[in-house]
Subunit: 348 residues, 4 copies
Amino acid sequence: MTKKTMIKVGIVGGTGYTGVELLRLLAQHPQVQVQTVTSRTKVGTQVADLFPNLRGHFDLTFTEPTPENFTDCELIFFATPNGTAMQSVPSLLKTGKKIIDLSADFRLKEVAIWEQWYGMEHTCPHLLEEAVYGLPEINRAKIAKARLVANPGCYPTAVQLGFLPLLEAGIIDPQHLIADAKSGVSGAGRKANVATLMAEAGENFKAYNVSRHRHWPEICQGLNAYTEKPVNLTFVPHLVPMIRGIEATLYANTMRNINLEEIQTLFTQRYQNEPFVDVLPAQSHPETRNVRGANMCQLAIHRPHNTIVILSVIDNLVKGAAGQAIQNMNIMCGLPETSGLTGAALLP
Amino acid sequence: MTKKTMIKVGIVGGTGYTGVELLRLLAQHPQVQVQTVTSRTKVGTQVADLFPNLRGHFDLTFTEPTPENFTDCELIFFATPNGTAMQSVPSLLKTGKKIIDLSADFRLKEVAIWEQWYGMEHTCPHLLEEAVYGLPEINRAKIAKARLVANPGCYPTAVQLGFLPLLEAGIIDPQHLIADAKSGVSGAGRKANVATLMAEAGENFKAYNVSRHRHWPEICQGLNAYTEKPVNLTFVPHLVPMIRGIEATLYANTMRNINLEEIQTLFTQRYQNEPFVDVLPAQSHPETRNVRGANMCQLAIHRPHNTIVILSVIDNLVKGAAGQAIQNMNIMCGLPETSGLTGAALLP
Amino acid sequence: MTKKTMIKVGIVGGTGYTGVELLRLLAQHPQVQVQTVTSRTKVGTQVADLFPNLRGHFDLTFTEPTPENFTDCELIFFATPNGTAMQSVPSLLKTGKKIIDLSADFRLKEVAIWEQWYGMEHTCPHLLEEAVYGLPEINRAKIAKARLVANPGCYPTAVQLGFLPLLEAGIIDPQHLIADAKSGVSGAGRKANVATLMAEAGENFKAYNVSRHRHWPEICQGLNAYTEKPVNLTFVPHLVPMIRGIEATLYANTMRNINLEEIQTLFTQRYQNEPFVDVLPAQSHPETRNVRGANMCQLAIHRPHNTIVILSVIDNLVKGAAGQAIQNMNIMCGLPETSGLTGAALLP
Amino acid sequence: MTKKTMIKVGIVGGTGYTGVELLRLLAQHPQVQVQTVTSRTKVGTQVADLFPNLRGHFDLTFTEPTPENFTDCELIFFATPNGTAMQSVPSLLKTGKKIIDLSADFRLKEVAIWEQWYGMEHTCPHLLEEAVYGLPEINRAKIAKARLVANPGCYPTAVQLGFLPLLEAGIIDPQHLIADAKSGVSGAGRKANVATLMAEAGENFKAYNVSRHRHWPEICQGLNAYTEKPVNLTFVPHLVPMIRGIEATLYANTMRNINLEEIQTLFTQRYQNEPFVDVLPAQSHPETRNVRGANMCQLAIHRPHNTIVILSVIDNLVKGAAGQAIQNMNIMCGLPETSGLTGAALLP
């Protein structure tokens, strides 16, 4: 292989599911080297001791998230709980680092709304405007020039990619949008918690946080960019007894005459150059396993009884988190957008 | 225990999941004795050899479904594939048997619609009018006098019980009903099939048959009884990687001013005397495991952003099949409606 | 129903899985009334709010575990973490209560061994001798007269019932016993814990605590009662991605000529009067679901290549915990041993 | 990328789980191009229509398995049911193709034993001697020169890699070997079958085919190469409610004094140059998810109470099938052995 410059990156908060998924994907990335992985609670532990799937792939130890540990890093991923990245990002930006925050700290533009939904004071509201919302399918050019990218939430990725072409084309009534979304349990993170014990979440299905989910304002903000009046979205998340995967079933009413073929064409054209959005033939039924472990959103369009029904599936940890973050990194660093993200999904 | 007359019943087609669930529940029924269980393919096999959970509960062998095997039976359950019950029901009715058909043969009133959706000729269309749709919460009096009860489908039970109070009260717009329903894999039955192998359906989630599901006309027929114009229902079923349970998330728009408290009161009053419909406090999130193995529908009402959201859970094999059939049997035979159906759900 | 005296019982620590399972089973018990359920952390909470499967079955609130709350109780179940029961049992015994401890506090006879394995000082070692080990299949007569019963662990129940007839008959070499045991995740209890999150334990299988599991000394103590020299047992527990169920595959070498039929007869005769041990035909393969929710141990005997292989399945929460506790209660209180325990297992 | 010669390969029988896994892995292989995939039942179907995880990775249609469809192929994988490969392999070998058979047709050396266990006549017994058993860790040199490789079974891979160092070193008594093995349901293949429906195999655990499993003679044949007298192996397979993964817990008795450290060293040295066998630190507990999707066997050694306990995990579809086949292909074709097999396992 011809010699090429390796980009060095760091990961803050590498002990959760988005952390281990970043590491799994970056292990295959031909132009990136992970220099530093931090964890306050696991300082000194070998990464591969915590995550034995990474044995032989990394010879790295968790360190403290001190600035000097990132000296050589061109870009830093934050895979931390909400409220952590905003503490360190301002100073890291000053040292010239590029930042991709996988938490929610920089996703909302209005600080008041952020503080209302996240229940804490934002410590660097001035960065909210600068931060670019990292959905490449709408913000690719801005991401390419960004210092700070707010990586989208998992539900918001699946829902926005499904509604986007319809809103852009002005076909549907933004006052009556419904997103019935379902997620595997890894979305709740790797933290001790009774509700996501296997004995609680296994062999069970439930809706939760009906329209009180923090991803609701994020989705609304994204969709509002394409409508005159703010959208009225009903968003109901559900917990599925599986580990990975999000399926969102989206319902909308058309505002003018349009048939299924035209809608199908609209989607196909909208995403024809997108490497990570795959529009299936009309009336397909995408399954979450089709994209397990892969940075891909599969969409299918139905139109029973005049309602438009969009089915959207992603892997919440990949296109819904770590994979999309690497896609953003590729764009920010001038690498081929698909670099390190070409693996096929694991089926079965 | 004081001596009481035991009612003798028979089961046609006892090798599927509704069959074994009928047997499990009837094993606890204090006033019913299972006399006959038939299966063309398992003649001579001990019931407890096929279903080892029934060891010690039944000393019964599968027999041929010949009339003489039902001589002593007052009532016969059909737990057969669609198209089977209609072959035998007319002659059995003539011998004075009461019939509860758990298949779809007698659920639809219009033969043309039935034949369109089930893809075969109906052999006794004259019985469609007589057959009583066995949803006790709307048809109790008719069921009590019926010779032939069509036991409702699983999705239709969950969806109708959720929409019913709203349509009866004329609160919602019947032209924009959405039922986003999710079912465990036992709904597909106990038959060799690639799509419901664990390696296909496990760790996976998908929508299927978007508004082309046979339960759609059944639900519409049921709901239409409460509206002037036919309802316009969008029904999207999904397959959940679990064995038992249905959750239906129902969306409707109000046609007049009404607040959440009023809707909650409406539901509470509508179902206050129903032993098997349990209205949870407003804004609860019912889980399918709450009713696993139990003949119960749990409902909860939400109202985010002016959309009414009803959450409805049942065990598809119990309130969605065998349990409801026994409830109907109790009503038809003059037994206490809850007899044999008082077990608490298995959690976890 | 003829009037009969209801026995009043209490449950200390009712918020875990053995607690909710005791409540589920006692809800069906015709001669028992649950008077009190305690939980220090949930005082004032309705039992049915924590466990919605119990809605309509209990109108009880969690209370403090103070003596006066048990005044009317004839018998008290401890469903508490290890180390709790021993604090209160001595004083409760003095007030004449019968006690069944589902934790490990009174299972081992030798205080030194107990303290070594449980890592704390035993506060009432004088009761260890009095306490009766509550495996009815070996200790029925003692249990009937006991004030204090130590309910066996889940693995020990499955393993002992499998080895017992062979050791009693002196057929196998006690120096080479192997128990390869597998348990569902509910065995780890209902407590916040990363290792039993669904995202950790789902779609995964592993051995754990190879012969360092606390059930090892308990099993050895039980088996040693039937051998001259202490047994040498290798015990390897495994975690299965399911909620309920234990399967133990037991390996032993014969010390004298005996064929499979003779071993089968030995088991059949040993357990012929036991209501909750079911010896399957030789060479059967019992499944954990055969006993899901039921107080039953199913056993099957194989003999490939001169090794005796015993397969033993139980529901860890029923015959391995709450069901066996109720069986012990029935024996202690002079009720029919099967009272309240006749439900068939939930399959599928 | 510098130009390199791509090796063209074909797959006979590409519609099962080993077929789709071969395709998933080969999609990442830098030096291999899949030319042909056959399926008698799916002729004309796009591969990516049957397996949507492969969308964008292959533009291939299933074809008939006629010789001309393999004209350009240097090597052909058979991912067919037992009994199929032996029909075509002789003629394909004559045309100079290299063959890797993932079925059992060429695994056993003695035709009489093969015919006894597989219940059919072998059509080319003369090839049994030539065929090389494709376990690279013992047969690397032979594989490099082979025309026909019999890819090992999944259980045999996990069990042999665990016992091998101990037998080679003459440490354990070959007369008392026990392999208690557990497999996910994908091991049963992608065929319509009641026993592996999710409603049957989910939330359930059982032993099956106690020492009557076809992998028993294969394991014995492999182990016998390292012992003077034939081994006496008790092999008990179990079905785990998960999709992928095998865990084998192996028990053996030492024949001479040796401590845990020496055994650990023995394993470490035996496998130090093996890219796909990973010996964990002593007393580790390998989990099947550590190797999900990866061509890796993780081993750990314990020694409680004088019994040696080896824990061995693989992904049954990768190191137990398709991955090992590609490893063999790399060896046979002179490619780097790890080519295309460097992906990290998917965790969680």
